[in-house]
Symmetry: C3
Subunit: 320 residues, 3 copies
């Protein structure tokens, strides 16, 4: 109850104060990374991101995400692309991920920060353009603009001496078996990896951010993560990747997205979400093979492709 009364107060402040309204949009932009149109969730996600940057010895990541989200939302406001979408943080969440990804994969330099601002602004326009294409089928952009702009910048690095890629960390300790004890930490890492972090503490923070808005979605997120681990284990996936949650983060997003757009989670819907998670895991492995020659991360592409396909079917299933 207390949370609700605080939320109401915040709502009232926002309606009067343009500064508070802009802060609200910034926070919702963080929330929308996991489809939560909720400022409190967003605030906790933001804390998680700051913590994640700090814990991975890259505090620049948190600042990068903030710079990105602010640049994107200012630009979207100036061009008045879509008032309602802007208020819900729709023009900010791709910039948030782009900022984090560029700060994670590129060496820190003044050029990097210039690139982050540019990429964030461009992500706003790409979001608008893709929305126009996708509205034909009532589909949301999801994180496609983030994937496109990040891939473009990472692929452009060899052409430009001002940008350079961070040397990949050496892999963590070799793992010879996966026991039930690994299951929960790995699933939570899968949640953290949505924002490209590798920390259980951050994963738990993100789960709290989800739980603040919806317990059902939290449940589906963690179940999606566990299922992806199970599928990868069954087919003999690499234990290092499974333990780090790298098979899970796309499945988490698929699960959240499909349950958000479903009317009622009956057994047919659950089976249909399970199939989507299975396809997400295999699409991720396939994309990994495709992108290997370019040393390109798959990011959240498997989630986007599978969710688009499944949302198209969902429309038919819900029509009846």
């Amino acid at each position: 109850m207390k949370i609700i009364s605080v939320a109401n107060q915040w709502h009232q402040i926002c309606s009067h104060n343009p500064c508070a309204r802009f802060t609200d949009v910034i926070l919702r932009s963080y929330g929308q990374v996991m489809l939560q149109n909720n400022a409190l969730s967003g605030l906790i996600f933001l804390l998680g991101v700051l913590m994640g940057g700090y814990l991975s010895d890259k505090p620049a990541i948190g600042a990068a995400s903030l710079v990105a989200v602010i640049s994107a939302n200012i630009m979207a406001y100036v061009y008045q692309l879509n008032e309602k979408a802007w208020q819900q943080g729709i023009y900010g969440f791709n910039a948030c991920l782009t900022g984090i990804a560029l700060a994670t994969f590129c060496e820190n330099s003044p050029y990097l920060w210039c690139t982050i601002v540019l990429a964030s602004i461009l992500s706003v326009f790409i979001t608008k353009a893709l929305s126009t294409i996708l509205q034909q089928w009532y589909l949301p952009c999801l994180t496609m603009p983030f994937i496109l702009i990040t891939w473009i910048y990472l692929l452009a690095i060899p052409s430009f001496s001002a940008l350079s890629r961070v040397q990949a960390d050496t892999a963590t300790a070799h793992i010879t078996s996966f026991t039930l004890l690994h299951l929960l930490p790995s699933s939570i890492l899968g949640i953290a990896e949505v924002f490209l972090f590798n920390s259980t503490l951050v994963g738990i923070t993100f789960l709290i951010a989800l739980a603040v808005n919806s317990l059902r979605i939290t449940l589906y997120a963690i179940t999606g993560s566990i299922l992806a681990i199970g599928i990868a284990l069954m087919y003999g996936g690499q234990l290092e990747l499974i333990t780090l949650g790298l098979y899970s983060f796309n499945a988490v997003l698929t699960a959240i997205t499909l349950i958000t757009f479903s009317n009622s989670p009956d057994s047919k819907t659950n089976l249909y979400i399970l199939l989507a998670i299975i396809l997400t895991v295999f699409t991720q492995s396939a994309l990994t093979t495709l992108l290997k020659p370019y040393a390109l991360p798959v990011l959240t592409m498997p989630f986007v492709v599978v969710s688009w396909l499944w949302l198209l079917i969902n429309q038919t299933l819900n029509q009846r």
Copy 2:
């Protein structure tokens, strides 16, 4: 006449007996691989597939195709995606090809069969989703779901120790010249290669399956195959590939599809189909180069791309 009366009897049985109706759908799923909505054609295709598996010392292929078609059609029935399309075998033919391809390219193991069932079920959902996208332009899915799901699984193999790729057969005897004597057998092999088989007998069986439904389509199929060989020979394509019908199978499908959707085969239509066949041959060579680093087969992708483009034009030509 006798065939027609048998067909009528079968029709009557199907309207009463759900088991017969399901068998009818299974057979039509086989027929739809070459766009024939005809249970008898389907039955002959099924016999050809069983024979092809047997002749290539891989009897599992026939079983794989049956398992795939049955899984797919059960799933499509449970989710009641589109009653009419289901009855015509539209939800089964991609699974049929997926089953054959996975059994051809992967080592036999319990995981393979689990994968075939999964891939077939997923192909149903992908078919439904792609149909929703493509109906905007009145385009059919063709074999796109089969191509996508097969590529995803083949590309995923390096990530999973439970799946492994069959070692490619060493090429057949070296051929130094192509004479008129090679023309007919090679064209017939082109028909067999639609189902990934390399046997003239199987090719003849498939031609009979076509002829049962339409002589005109049979004529266009074999002509498409011959033309593809002619174009490849003219441009100096590899004789081994030409002789095996590997330049033909996509052209065969393009020819069948375009004549099926054309109103009247006048000379303008024939020229327009010829151009499509030429583009199919070059698209196939281009895709071969693109996919070589990934050791990925082109499957029927050239046919799908060219047919979609040409069907879009066809709508305009027929409008007048």
Copy 3:
């Protein structure tokens, strides 16, 4: 005034004489490469192309472009795809570029000329098909058919002994610094590179061709070229490529296209075109990395992708 009266006379001749009308379409096809629906512009472009072929010791290029444009327009006339589009040269400009590209990248041989005719005819059908898809979003094809058909033929070369790729020229003299003196010549080379030429004289001819139709577009073209050079310099791009205008030609086309489709060039529009040019430069570098393993030129793909995205946004901006 004199030009206008000559234009009127030409208009009158065209309405009576089918031969003149066809010539008009041929010339407009050249003009449409840079979006100029103007026969006089087209004539100057044609002269530039002939000159460019001559200056680069490849006179076949000029002939190839003519053969291509004529073949394409005859085919479009025979199939009566779209009367109005045909008259404006819409079915010819992709063929024009395809002819130039194939004559530039492939060894001269009778097969090459056969391929140029075929590719040009196919480009007409691809133009028609893509238009049908894109009209859903009121988007033009731009040079997509040219890119697709040229890539297909270049990728198909390894499969066919009748076609072979020209050995790439060794790079020009090594450049150690870029001064203001380089800026104008390099920007003009960027204009010439739209038609794949590397000559300042040809670039100036093309600028005149633009100026005949619209001074504003000429200004945006050269500004786009200069901006692309600036961005590439700022990020430390390779000086050789920058000096040759290879970072500019896509930006030139983006600038021309976006200003053509904009209502009023206010500061918001100019910023939005600047962002498009920035994205064009980075997309070009990204595509270069992607296509390197296949030794495939990026052609005008970055321009097409960015222009499509930005034109989609433009519709929203102009609606208000």
